[in-house]
Structure formats: C-alpha cells, structure tokens
Amino acid sequence: MEHKIIDLDINTDTARQILTRFIQTEINRAGFSRAVINLSGGLDSSLSCYLAVEALGAENVLALCLPYKSSSPDSAEHAQIVIDTLGVKSLTIPISDMADALINQFPDMDRIRQGNIMARLRMVVLYDQSQAFRGLAVGTGNKTEILLGYTTLYGDSASALSPLGDLYKTQVRQLAKAVGVPQVILEKPPTADLWLGQTDEGELGFTYAEVDQLLFMLVDQRYRPEDCVEAGFDENFVRAVMERVRKNQFKRLMPPIAKLSNRTVGYDFLYLRDWGT
C-alpha cells in the first residue's frame, strides 16, 4: 500500500533569510563576529558554510577539514570545492594520529567506538579553533538526525548554535540547491564517512525521503503512530522509528541534575542564552 505523500517543500528564500539573520544575530549577541565550521564536504556542512558566509562574510568564516586516514578522498575534494568557491579561510588538520593513539590501545575496538572517537576528536579540534579564531562553532546537524539520534553525543552534535536543526534532510537538500551548493555535493549519497563505504541510509535501514515523511507526520503534525499506519506507512517501520526517537531523547537534553535545593539549574533557574543582550 502506498502511504500518504506529504509535500515537505519549503520556501527557500524565507528559510535563507531567517537562518542567515539567526547566525549573524546570535553570534553577535554572544559578543563574536566569526564562525568556525567542521566542513566534511557533505550536504549539511556545505550548506552551513554557505549560510555562515552569507551571514558573516567569507573572511569571518573558518572551515576545518579534519580527515581520518580512512576518510574518502571525495570528502576532502568536495570540501575544497566549497572552500574555493566561497573564499573562506580553511585549515586541514588530520586526526589520524590523535585517534589512533587511543584506538590502537584496544585492538578489538569495534567501528562504532572508532567512529565516535573520530567524531569527538573533530569536536575537540573545532572548539580549540573556536578559541584560536575567536569564532563560534556553527553546528551542522539537521532535524532528521537530531530526532533519530543519528549523531555522536558531544561529537558532531556539539555546537554553539544550530541553524539547520529544524530542517529535515530533504529540506536541507532543497535549501542547499537554492543557495548554490555544488551539484556533486547535492547528488552524492549522505555519509558520516566514519568507515569505508558507510552511508547514512545503508546504516539506518531506510531512506531520508521515507523517514522525513513519517517524522513530519509524527512530530510536526502530531499524528499518532496508528494514524501513520492508517495513512499507509508500514507498521514495523513506524514502530522502529518511534522507538529510535524515544531512545535517543537523552542526546537532545542536558544531563539531568539530581534536584536537592530549592532552585536548580535546568528546572527552576530559567534564562535564555540571550539573557541581558
């Protein structure tokens, strides 16, 4: 049975206007004028780089290329196209030695652990360069991966602000196309590139086109899971996605503080980040 098709298209002009102003405003309010971005050469980080340049100017954006020895050469090549096209500052810092210093101590370490180490080392470099360049770390995560928890906690999920966090992957692709991200990046299969041949859709077991439709119904439109099944989605698929969303809630929150006092950070000590600015 075919499921109900939802049009996830967005107005890219409006998205672009809001997101560039968001980047500029929130970085300025924090007392900065520059941004640092981990540029993998994939869709999300390329789009983030384009938006940051539009918001802050190329001279205020530092793109970091942080390859591991098994990273696909395509990734570096595509990142370089973005850097050359936008004229941003860039640094290439291989993380192989740093990562292997830990990985080699555990000969039987599985690739999930290895992948997490790479993602977290990229965070370490990102935040170090954030300090060195006096720029805030612009995150590259999208709504699909945030909801599915398809991200390494304190790794690629770490950032100062998240311009793409309310756009599903298919919407990220639409916006990336509109702002002029190169065709070769738009068309390649999404990958975290943590091991050879890894693709997001292969690892997740479903396509972004499919899961974005379902997530939009479940999250944005507040359909109950049984309503999604009634709308034609496979029951096992709906259940698996719901379970993924539930199990990964911990990645979307600060760690719970055990409440003892009358006023506790996170529960009843409530201020925005923009407090006083």
Partner: protein, 284 residues
C-alpha cells in the same frame, strides 16, 4: 479627521530595560519629527519577550516617579505612546502590559488576559492574567488595546467593539513558526488574516505592531499592519527587519464604511448576552 500613526517594529535587548528605553526615546523623537501623533511599540517592548526568571527584575510602575516611565510620560506631552512593559501590582503579581500615555498622563493600562501556555509558550508560568477588557477615550477617538494571544480569541475584540472602540491597537511579540512553500510563515499569515477579518467584521481600524529580531532560536517576524474599516490594507512593514512605519489613516472612513455596512448598528449585543447567560447558566 486624519491621524498619523507610527508603528515601531523593533528588536529589543532581553532584560535590559534602560537600553530599550533609549531606543524607545530615539524612535519617539524620529516619529514625532515625521509628523506622527501616536506611536505604537510591540508587546513587552521595554523588556524583551522570553523573560522567564527575569520577570521580577524588569517590572516597572507606569507612574511619574518611575525612572523608566518619567521620560516616556514627558515625551507623551507631544505624541501619544503605547508601550509594552511588565507591570507589578501592590501584591507583587506580574502582568504582561501595555500602557497608553498621552499628554503627560497614563490614560489606560491593559493587562494581557490570555496567557498562552502551550507549544513554545510558557506565559502562565511567569505571569498573572489580566481581568478586564475595556475601551477608553483618546484624543483621536475611542480606542481598544489588546496584546497578542488576546486577539487570537474572538471575544476580547468583540467586547472592545461593543465598548465603543473604533480604533484597535494590537501589539505582539509573535514568534515565527510554520515554514512551508509560501514566503510567509504560517503564524504571520494567521495573524494578518485575523487582523484583516477584525477590521472588516467590526468596520474599524485595526493597527498591529509586532516586534522583530531573535531570542535564542526564536525569530519574531515583524510584518506590522494597519487595516481600514473596509478590511483594506493601509500600510505594512516588511517581515523580519526593524522598521518605523509612518502611516496616515482617515478616521472619516468609519462613517463611510458604516453607512454602507451598518454591522455595528445592527449588532444585537443583548441577544448575545441572553444566549451567553443561557449557555453559561447550563454549566457548559
């Protein structure tokens, strides 16, 4: 009779009342220089919107002896001012408020009666709801003031209309949400449609000042509007950017529209009351 209105579609500093006051005074000066007789600031224009635990620290009394209101009251000797602030009563309840200042006096204070506490909103956690919906006389005619969620409900504008308001002054700090294919966000379209509808339904002027800028990830979409008694757009500020809109309205339009379309004359408020009494009396 003509009235020149200024809509101050501004961004604010979150919790910095003194800095926001400076911006108000500067815009009041500009509006006055451009011939405005009334300037309208958005919801919580003196404080910023997502105040949370900042609420008790930003409250002020709209009185002569308050250091924030003193310069505003002075300025109101030359131009009428509607300003958004946090009011605190003598028993320390806090209200999202709008004060109408004219000729050095506070003519009216409205406390927001509907505090949205759903979705991204959490106002009832921090504020007390107002308990009055009242129109008042200004030097330009009878006016009704509402704040954001107040006019998402149909009853407050209706009550103001029955209480004699011909000019509705609506203020918002409306976070943008709902991006689809259209260039306008769902929330912006909804508010604009409502305001146009109220202008037509009540054959009145509906003036709406919304703020702009960001607070953390929330964007405030601006798009302030003035609709005339025919439901026609008189003027509009752009979306998502600061603006000082100066527009003239022709108050004589009220007579022309109501001669054509006597909805006010034919409104049967006592029928409404009779049926409301019945409905509420049934305990529904």
């Amino acid at each position: 009779m003509k009235l020149t209105i200024a809509l101050a579609q501004i961004n604010t500093h979150l919790g910095d009342v003194a800095l926001n006051l400076q911006k108000h005074l500067e815009l009041i000066r500009q509006a006055q220089a451009r011939g405005a007789e009334l300037i309208i600031f958005p919801e919580l224009s003196l404080t910023g919107y997502c105040l949370q635990d900042l609420v008790p620290t930003v409250a002020h009394h709209a009185t002569e002896d308050d250091p924030i209101f003193k310069p505003l009251l002075d300025a109101s000797k030359w131009i009428d001012i509607l300003v958004g602030f946090v009011d605190e009563d003598h028993r320390h309840r806090f209200f999202i408020s709008a004060a109408y200042l004219s000729q050095g006096k506070v003519l009216h204070i409205h406390h927001k009666v509907y505090l949205p506490t759903y979705g991204l909103f959490d106002e009832s956690r921090f504020f007390a709801p107002g308990n009055e919906v009242r129109s008042f006389n200004s030097r330009f005619g009878r006016v009704g003031v509402l704040i954001c969620e107040d006019f998402w409900h149909a009853s407050p504008p209706y009550l103001l209309w029955l209480d004699g308001a011909d000019i509705f002054l609506f203020t918002s700090a409306s976070p943008g949400r709902g991006l689809g294919k259209r260039p306008t966000l769902d929330s912006a379209r909804w508010v604009e449609d409502m305001n146009r509808a109220y202008a037509g339904l009540f054959t009145s002027f509906v003036v709406h000042a919304n703020r702009t800028g960001f607070e953390d990830g929330l964007n405030f979409w601006g798009g302030s509007t003035i609709f005339d008694p025919n439901g026609e757009l008189v003027n509009k500020s752009p979306h998502h950017e600061e603006d000082l809109l100066i527009a003239e309205i022709d108050l004589n339009q009220l007579q022309r529209t109501r001669a054509r379309l006597p909805l006010l004359r034919d409104e049967r408020a006592s029928l409404t009351k009779q049926e409301l009494d019945r409905i509420l009396g049934c305990g529904r």
